[in-house]
Amino acid sequence: MPQNEYMERWRKLHGRRLDHEEKTRKKAAREGHKQSYEAQNLRGLRAKLRAQERRKEKIQMRKQIKAHEERDVKTANQNDPSEPMPAYLLDRSNPSTAKAISSQIKNKRAEKAARFSVPLPKVRGLAEEEVFSVVHTGKKTHKKSWKRMITKPTFVGPNFTRRDPKHERFIRPMGLRYKKAHVTHKELGVTVNLPILSVKKNPSSPLYTNLGVLTRGTIIEVDVSDLGLTSASGKVVWGRYAQVTNNPENDGCLNAVLLT
C-alpha cells in the first residue's frame, strides 16, 4: 500500500464514523446555500475563478438537459433523415455527407468575389520584437546578437532537423511545434484533428510564412483525406486550406476552419 493512503487504511481497519451518512447528506443538502453564499460574497480573483468554474458547470448541465429532452421526445419517423435518400441508404447510420458540401464549395469559389475571401480577413500584425527574442548565449553570440528564438508556435516539416548552432539563426522551440490542428468543417458542423501539411501564408510577414509561424489568421494546408471528400472527376481530395482561428500561443492548441 502506498505510504500516503493512511485514510483509506484507517477506514479499512475501523470502518466509517457512525454518523458518516448523515453528515454527507447534510453537507450535500447545504451545497446550494454554500454556493449562494459564495456567489454573493466572493470578491476579486476568487470571484472570477468561481464564475469561471460555475460557467463550465452550467454548460455541462445544459448539455445534459438537452440530451434528456432529446431522449424523451418520441416522433413517428424518428429515424428518417431530413434529406431524401434512396431506400438502400435508409436505416443506415450514414457517415456525414462531406461530399455534398464540397460541390457547394466549388460553386461558391467559382464566383470571383468569393475566391479570395477568408473567414478572418483582418488580423493584428505582429512585430518582429514580439515574435523573436534575441539569444545571448556565449560571448560571440552575445556581442553580435544575431541569433533569434521564435516565441510563437510553429510548424516544421516532418523531416526537419536543426542546423548546427553556428548557422542556426532562428530557433524554433520543440515545445511550441505543432503537427496537427483541430479543423472545423462549417457546413458539416464537424471538427476533426487533421495533420498539417504546410504553412501557406502568415499574413504578418513572408518571413513568418517561411519559418512556419502559426498565429491567428495564418493559412495552413491540412490533410483532409480522412474526410473522404472527392472532386468532380471522382478523385479523393487530399490537401485543403484552412485558416487558424485562435491564438495558439495562449491556448496551447491549434484551431482552424476549412476555407470555403
Partner: protein, 514 residues
C-alpha cells in the same frame, strides 16, 4: 481519364523482367502454321455434348471455333449465334479461351494430339451494345435528389425517375425533355417500376402508399394502394406470362415487415405476406415454382430471404444463412421478366396469347431453373436455387470487404455483378458462384450497377460522383463518365438500346449515350 490503373503487381513486374532477360524462342509464334491439330468436344450450358472434332491449330481462333460449332449444330447461316468458349481441363477447372492456343498448350504441358479438349460454349447476344461515352442530356426538373430510375421495357425513349420532392417524372430520352410529372405522393418516391408490358408505372413512396400511373397520359390509375403501415420500399410486377384473365398484380415490400400483393384493377390487397421480423428491403416476383405458377422472393433486415407461393400467398421456404441484413436480391430471370415479350428484334406479337407465349419462351430461355442471389451486410452473398436445392445455399460468395449493397444477374444469366461499400465491383460466375474478377476504379462506395442488354458491359454508379462503364469479360474500364456534381444514387441501362440514365443528389437527371 480520371482513373489511373493500379501499378503493376510484383508478379507482373517479375514476368516482364523475366521476358526481357530470357531469350525468346522466335519460332514459337510461327510454329502454329504447321502445328497440326487438336481434338475438341463441345459442351453447352445444359450439358449436351457433341462428338469430338478435329480442329487445325492454325485456324483455332475463337471466332472460327464459334462458326464451327454453329455448323455442327446444323444451323443456317442466318441463325448463327456468336459463342465464347471456356476450356475445361482435366482437373475440372475452367479457363477462358486463350488468344494463343498453342502457347496455352505449351504452358500447361498438354499435348493436343493425345487428349480431347472439352470446350464449354456460352452463347453471346447476337447484337452488340456500345459503351456509352458522352453526356447527351442533363435534364433539370426535380427539386430534390433523385432516388430511383428505370427505363421502360417497351421503348428506350421513355424512362421514369422518382425523387425526394415527392414526385415521379417520366422523361423523353430521345429529346431529353420532361414528359409528365406524376404528382400526388406525400413522401419521397423510393421506387419506380414499369410493368413488363410497359403499360403501367408503379411508384412506391415514404407516405406508405403505392400508386399506379398510366405512362401514356401521366394520370393516376383509379386509386392509390393503401394498407402498409410504413414506407413502401420496393415493388415488383407479376411476370407477364403469368397474368390470368386480365388481372394485373403487383407486390410491394415495406418497412412494416410485410409485403402485400395488390390487384391493380380493383385496388384490393390479395395477400399480405407477413412473417418477416423486420423491414422488408427488397422483393422480386419470379416465374419459377411448381408448374411455373410464380414465386415471390423477399429479403429483409431480419437476415432471411423468404420464398412465397405467389398465387396462394403461402410461405414456401425460409432461406436462412446470412448473419446480417439482406440488402438486395436478384433473380437470374430478372431481365427476361422485366422486359416480358419485348426483345431486340422489335417484332411484337399481336394477340394476347402470342405475347404470353413469347414472354414465357423468353423466361424459359433465361435458364433451366430460376436462381436467386442475395447480398447482405455480412460482407457475403449467397447463391440459392430454391427449385432444386431448396433451403440449401448453392454457394456462398466471399470476397467483399464491406457490406454488399447491390447485386445483379447479367441478362444472359452467366455472371453476377455485385457492388459494395468497399469501393469495388466484383464479377462472379453465376453457375457455381466462383469469383471471376474485381473491378477497381471507384474511390467511394459503389451504390448500383446495371448490365447492358448484351451482357458485355456493366455501368456502375458511385458516391464519388462518377459512372464507370466496364467491360465484363476483360474487366477493363471501358469508359469513365464524370459529370455528376454529387453522389449518384441510381443508374439504369435501357433494355433495348445504348441509353443510360442516372440520377443522384445533384437533382438533375443525366442521360448518357454512345
Amino acid at each position: 481519364m480520371a482513373t489511373i490503373p493500379p501499378p503493376p503487381s510484383k508478379r507482373q513486374k517479375r514476368e516482364t523482367l523475366a521476358l526481357t532477360q530470357t531469350q525468346q524462342d522466335a519460332t514459337a509464334k510461327f510454329a502454329s502454321a504447321d502445328a497440326g491439330s487438336f481434338k475438341a468436344r463441345f459442351v453447352d450450358s445444359e450439358g449436351n455434348e457433341t462428338d469430338a472434332v478435329e480442329i487445325p491449330l492454325a485456324d483455332a481462333s475463337e471466332k472460327n471455333v464459334s462458326l464451327l460449332y454453329n455448323t455442327l449444330l446444323g444451323r443456317d447461316r442466318e441463325e448463327f449465334i456468336p459463342y465464347r468458349f471456356h476450356i475445361q481441363n482435366a482437373q475440372g477447372d475452367v479457363v477462358q479461351y486463350p488468344s494463343n492456343l498453342l502457347e496455352y498448350f505449351q504452358k500447361n504441358d498438354i499435348s493436343p494430339n493425345e487428349i480431347t479438349i472439352t470446350l464449354v460454349a456460352e452463347p453471346q447476344a447476337v447484337f452488340r451494345v456500345q459503351a456509352v461515352s458522352r453526356l447527351a442530356h442533363r435534364i433539370p426538373g426535380h427539386g430534390q435528389p433523385i432516388l430511383t430510375s428505370q427505363f421502360s421495357p417497351k421503348t428506350s425513349s421513355r424512362f421514369a425517375t422518382g425523387s425526394g420532392d415527392c414526385t415521379a417524372r417520366i422523361w423523353d430520352a430521345d429529346t431529353g425533355t420532361p414528359k409528365f410529372t406524376l404528382k400526388g405522393h406525400a413522401g419521397w418516391v423510393l421506387d419506380v417500376r414499369w410493368s413488363p408490358d410497359g403499360e403501367l408505372l408503379a411508384t412506391c413512396s415514404m407516405d406508405k402508399t403505392l400508386r399506379i400511373w398510366d405512362p401514356e397520359t401521366g394520370t393516376l390509375l383509379n386509386h392509390e394502394l393503401r394498407g402498409h403501415k410504413d414506407a413502401v420500399l420496393q415493388a415488383a410486377w407479376e411476370p407477364y406470362h403469368l397474368r390470368e384473365n386480365g388481372q394485373r398484380l403487383i407486390v410491394s415490400a415495406s418497412r412494416d415487415a410485410t409485403a402485400r400483393v395488390w390487384n391493380v384493377g380493383t385496388g384490393r390487397t390479395e395477400h399480405v405476406l407477413s412473417g418477416h421480423k423486420s423491414s422488408v428491403t427488397c422483393v422480386k416476383w419470379g416465374a419459377g415454382g411448381e408448374n411455373g405458377t410464380g414465386l415471390i422472393y423477399t429479403g429483409s433486415h431480419d437476415k432471411n430471404v423468404r420464398v412465397w407461393n405467389a398465387s396462394a400467398g403461402t410461405l414456401v421456404h425460409e432461406l436462412a444463412g446470412h448473419k446480417h441484413w439482406v440488402n438486395h436480391i436478384a433473380l437470374s430471370s430478372d431481365f427476361a421478366l422485366r422486359t416480358g415479350y419485348f426483345d431486340h428484334t422489335n417484332d411484337i406479337p399481336s394477340s394476347d396469347a402470342d405475347k404470353k407465349a413469347k414472354a414465357k419462351a423468353r423466361f424459359e430461355a433465361s435458364g433451366k431453373t430460376e436462381r436467386l442471389v442475395s447480398a447482405s451486410d455480412d460482407l457475403t452473398m449467397i447463391l440459392w436455387d430454391p427449385a432444386n436445392a431448396g433451403k440449401k445455399p448453392v454457394a456462398r460468395l466471399h470476397g467483399h470487404q464491406k457490406a454488399v449493397n447491390h447485386v445483379a444477374f447479367s441478362p444472359d444469366g452467366t455472371v453476377i455483378a455485385s457492388t459494395g461499400w468497399d469501393n469495388h465491383t466484383r464479377i462472379w460466375n453465376a453457375r457455381d458462384g466462383s469469383f471471376i474478377r474485381k473491378l477497381l476504379g471507384h474511390v467511394a462506395p459503389v451504390f448500383q450497377c446495371a448490365f447492358s442488354a448484351d451482357s458485355r458491359l456493366l455501368v456502375t454508379a458511385s458516391r464519388d460522383t462518377t459512372l464507370k462503364v466496364w467491360n465484363v469479360r476483360g474487366g477493363k474500364l471501358a469508359r469513365d463518365l464524370p459529370g455528376h456534381e454529387d453522389e449518384v444514387y441510381t443508374v439504369d441501362w435501357a433494355p433495348s438500346a445504348n441509353n443510360v440514365c442516372s440520377g443522384g443528389k445533384d437533382k438533375a437527371v443525366r442521360l448518357w449515350r454512345n
